[in-house]
Symmetry: C2
Subunit: 217 residues, 2 copies
């Protein structure tokens, strides 16, 4: 995510297009016009095309031959699919991390978590990222950090988060960290799955409400 890492135009374009999505300048479900993006970023269409392919690989963009690329819609059903996948993968991620991370790393994570809790800062995604980075399985890390968390950030940028969940989430995260520190991978996995499962059910409730409202209106 650091600018210094960008050795090529494609990388820059990927970051800038993602910023456009985050800022809602290109809406969810909106279209990506290669020529327009090329003009905007002062590059030719080649890098734009490769950047779109890359975003397509990350699941942020959907595209068919000769048709304009569309930004993923991130509808409630989409998010439920993503959360079901997260439940499975993050469960494994935390199980592996429980074995793979050193005492020092775990303590650092606990400290950072406590500090953030004091400061009242949201720490959710940071924590999940750290666990994924510590799980020792690079495919799982890439899937979570390079794909799913991008989608999550995009979703959160659009939808106000539930108010009541914040305190619960702190407790649930704390329990997960405790299980990791106790080197109980089984427990850590089931706590993580429950944690994400609760969020999934919250989305499903929202979907049911939305469906009911739409039916009436």
């Amino acid at each position: 995510m650091l600018d210094g890492e960008e050795r090529t135009l494609v990388d820059r374009v990927v970051r800038e297009v993602f910023a456009l999505l985050l800022s809602s300048e290109i809406p969810l479900g909106g279209q990506l016009n290669e020529a327009a993006l090329a003009a905007r970023f002062k590059v030719s269409r080649g890098p734009i095309r490769e950047a779109i392919k890359q975003l397509q690989g990350r699941g942020l963009v959907i595209k068919e031959p000769y048709l304009k690329a569309r930004v993923v819609s991130l509808s409630l059903p989409d998010m439920i699919e993503i959360f079901q996948l997260r439940e499975a993968v993050e469960g494994m991620s935390v199980r592996l991390a429980t074995s793979a991370m050193s005492d020092t790393e775990l303590d650092e994570m606990l400290d950072a978590f406590s500090a953030a809790r004091q400061a009242g800062k949201a720490v959710d995604l940071d924590l999940h990222v750290r666990i994924a980075e510590g799980c020792g399985n690079d495919r799982i890390r890439a899937l979570l950090c390079d794909e799913l968390y991008y989608l999550l950030r995009l979703y959160r940028a659009r939808s106000a988060d539930q108010p009541g969940r914040r305190q619960d989430a702190f407790t649930e995260h704390w329990q997960i960290l405790r299980a990791m520190r106790a080197r109980d991978g089984e427990l850590a996995e089931s706590l993580m799955r429950a944690h994400i499962g609760r969020a999934t059910r919250s989305l499903e409730t929202l979907l049911a409400q939305q469906a009911a409202t739409t039916d009436k209106g």
Copy 2:
């Protein structure tokens, strides 16, 4: 995978390059030279580059700026990572499929499985594909069918499969199908995880042996 679906050169190149990998014409860990591939397939470098980006997205190719793209090595540690991910994702896949698939679909799958068993045909990957396609979660389906199973096919094309596992695998698959038919998603998930977990441990044993041999030699 059908030729008729290929409306663009990039799609054709992706298929042909993957065939080169399957046939060992390009070895695992080997390099992909854009110009050479362009000459071979009689296209310019543009489509080649996009195809490589796509293969990169599927995890078959690793690339850094200005360095040649390398085919993934699929070493034993790589495969273990892939199997750990599969264990988590396919567990969820079969759990969801157990709810989502109709009686008719399940029966068809059982019939096809029995027929293959009679004919003594290997059915492993087919079955996993069907389950993924029936799970109703398109992100999970894409992850399994468009990414992980490609890697698996590539791996199997190189390494002779274990002789004793075949009969065991039939039994394990049969149990999974029975659990699905009984609409017991929990059971189906844990059976699938055990099924893949066994394969993972078999890889880990192989790795340990390999390490021991290397140390001596």
